[in-house]
Symmetry: D2
């Protein structure tokens, strides 16, 4: 499998990790959901991110998941989340998944980082820990990490650390950050790939600002793919029509914490995984939530028909 580069584009779906109701990993469903993502238009996959319940896995389980998905994904690039409280753990997991054929690793900043110097310094150490030449995706997700990365710090990291080839962009509000990065590049800075997260809730605007696509786990990845393709083809209005149809669901699934149970419920409903179970701690979607989601899916189906 080839390595991730600054030219990466398209839709990297953040994969869930399917569990059996007893909390063990459901590897058959892992295969099935990998196929599902590819069938729905994924151009890459990202595993062991926050929405993949990565912190709930042991290192041995993490490796097993990575091995299974990388094998199943074939030619598709697979990015593996290796964020950890310490550099040694990052180093160990990164080496192990790169050996298995990962295309790169994704690293979010630990919540203890505060100043610009601390953040830039951390990514310098983290790149070294990931291993020489290993492509690194910088996950900028302040709502979850509590770490605010100034555009100037992003630029500094891009300039100093050639291993950083991609920004997983999910600041909120983050549109000006895309603009700032693309402007710095227009002025001569190395261009990196920007794939956007946050469930895709700003995808049309992000594409308009110069993003290269999406990296998020919305349970209808076909929407992400259509919006990215239509945007790239210049058909912003059609892209937005599709997007708007799914938006009530995107919004519902994007609720912090609660969203993952909903996402797994939808994936189960769509036949992509056998059980919507979350590993403990983590509650399943409540009956009220399921009723609300079912209603939104029914409405979506009707709306999509109107649009065709």
């Amino acid at each position: 499998m080839s390595l991730l580069t600054e030219d990466a584009k398209g839709v990297f779906v953040i994969s869930v990790t399917p569990f059996h109701p007893d909390g063990t990993i459901d590897f058959d469903s892992l295969d099935r959901v990998t196929d599902f993502y590819i069938e729905k238009g994924a151009t890459g996959l990202t595993i062991l991110g926050m929405m993949g319940e990565a912190p709930k896995l042991t290192q041995a389980e993490s490796r097993a998941v990575a091995q299974r998905v990388i094998a199943r994904a074939g030619d598709l690039p697979v990015v593996v989340g290796v964020s950890a409280p310490g550099l040694a753990a990052i180093s160990e997991l990164s080496k192990s998944v790169m050996d298995l054929g990962a295309a790169g690793v994704m690293i979010a900043p630990p919540g203890s980082l505060k100043t610009d110097a601390q953040i830039a310094g951390y990514y310098s150490q983290a790149c070294a820990a990931a291993g020489e030449g290993v492509p690194v995706v910088l996950q900028d997700f302040p709502l979850s990490t509590g770490v605010q990365i100034d555009p100037a710090v992003l630029n500094r990291i891009v300039q100093e650390l050639p291993q950083v080839v991609m920004l997983k962009h999910e600041d909120w509000p983050g549109l000006p950050k895309i603009t700032a990065l693309r402007r710095a590049e227009a002025a001569g800075q190395r261009r990196i790939s920007i794939l956007c997260g946050n469930g895709g809730i700003f995808l049309p605007e992000e594409m308009g600002r110069g993003a290269d696509g999406a990296m998020t786990g919305f349970a209808f990845p076909e929407m992400l793919r259509q919006v990215v393709d239509l945007s790239n083809a210049g058909d912003m209005d059609r892209a937005q029509d599709i997007f708007d149809a799914y938006l009530p669901l995107v919004r519902y699934e994007q609720q912090p914490g609660a969203g993952l149970a909903v996402r797994k419920y939808v994936l189960q409903k769509r036949g992509a995984i056998a059980s919507a179970a979350l590993r403990s701690p983590g509650a399943p979607a409540a009956p009220e939530a399921i009723a609300e989601v079912d209603r939104l899916i029914a409405r979506l189906t009707r709306r999509l028909k109107e649009l065709t």
Copy 2:
């Protein structure tokens, strides 16, 4: 003017505070936007909240704004935000605005509160500071305050503090909180009013869970009113159709920090205020943001036509 009660329903619009480009308060626009909100269906107003740039005003200015809006609003109840780092300031402002005819005061918890006991204890002190018999709206907005209020703590406050007549609900995810509160009431607890914030981004589901309406500042308050009225009339599908049409804009305006500049831009565009200026610190909407919002408004206009 009459006092706020547990029976309050409808749409309390969170009012902006209009400024001249030089940063002074624009009282003429304050009148105009008050009229605008009423004309678009407000059943009440809330002033000096976070989105009213309250912390940027001096106490004298706060009083002047309250006086002007209360006078202009006529029979409509006006809730005044009196959150402050100290109880003495809460007490002073609360007394002053209640004397002017406010219907009640709104208090968010200071970020230093952590444990259940600290939160419950604070509201006991804050109610005393607000003044005997003064109706209090509890603003539950963890994304902004950092304070997480457990449903059990809400129930305890409702039981112990009869002054608390309303919850401004903007936890995220917060739908289960509405359900928990309504269940406790079904089991005998005093029923309080629940009006929902967060720009209205979950309004249909919130109404479905038992909310009494909205308290938020979305620049198209007519949407909030229609959704509340249609929900109350049982026409959930039509409510959701209207809601969905506005959702791309709701989502855009709900961006933390950046959203207020957009909201003021839209209100200016709609003729409700003369200038979109924010008082310093606070930047106006960037040209890219304005283009994105203009596009969404144009699409909204078309979509609304389809729906009629």
Copy 3:
């Protein structure tokens, strides 16, 4: 009264605000404690800081306290804390206390600031709000504010904002920051005054690193004065002997939150204020704490005799 300059040295005692048991301000005790601080060696005073219960006062009370202390302090410079959630409140209070004869104002960063650029930008706005030419003390107290200021940001502020004449240094650990600032100055940067807080718990080391004195409210200000004077005279060993004798009490009084009740208890015991009452919310020292403090004071008395 003259204005604060970069040459300020010595001991600026952070004054308590004395209250009657009913929560009203005790102005007679305010006079008495002002005299007490001066008698014990204060070379300046700082009022309306966090330990002065400033956020619990109304603006009118803040002004009254400032007026009383400034009048009583005579030739001694009085710094007034004007930190507030908004710039307008800073502006209003700063103007009012400077008119009353304050030597300068002290401003801590609001907890919402994260990035280097946000912090530097804030002090630029805050200096403007304080008023042209008004001397500003930057309070660097991350344990309380949550804001981490990198030495590079301090240097930038010193270079860009001539109004900033003093650092109230209470980072923890903060000794390297003093060294960094003094080194930048040795390399040509404008020299500012550094007075140290944190109850004085690192005062000998801080003086050794180049601090100009203390700005803190330890209830035995004579210790602070002796340590500063002996350090300036080069008698570091005698300075440390004195310091060590008081250290068990310094440590006890430095407990966040709880320390203020202890400090007021000691000041009452020493006859400097009539009542140890804190304004609500704020509990008095528990009987166990009082017994512990009494014991430490008795031991201190014995130890000081050994040292003479």
Copy 4:
């Protein structure tokens, strides 16, 4: 080796993890520092805590360190820190170290916990993850974790979870918490062991409030042992004399972050470890800090002579 019980007393030294200058673990020094702690009076050891740089180790390294120390410590009970972002990692490490002969495991709450219910719920899950019957030490260290545990929540955990046999107490200010726990026990609640952290900076008062000893890593563990023994013998004055002599160093070593480099420097100076190196990220003590510490140690030596 026997399991930890509610009757544990004395001094459990938090062990450093010694590294070679190249960052690999120095197992010879690990043996030596284990001997050193025992020689200086440790009645137990705690490894892989925050000050043991645990998050910087891989799981394999963590196990190797545990195995080495447990073997070397002979009859002494060894508590192993197993805090981790996820329950599976806790479970895996706990099982593995209990099999190696650990006396129990220590678990700090993850920073994401906010409400009372979340904290109590977490310890219920964490006890299950640690394994049936495995003794658990609850580490209550809000300065580092950001999690504030109300005394009522501690009581609830003690009542509901018999596996929790010990509180590692390092709230600050935390003296009232000891009093509250001992009072609840006097009223019939199960008594648990309380060992105190924070570098021992409140040890005399903690013993006076009913603590059973210390669990901290101060580089002169003989002080901790003497203070605990003298307190138990009722000689509080002598205990405090010894404590006060060490206090300037205790204070210096207790600086967050910076303290560990100082601690390792002192241990190296005392011959307990070969190198003061921290594993990256982590800087060695600066020359200024070393000079300050050397001076404090020289003064300590003189002072101890006066006291004999």
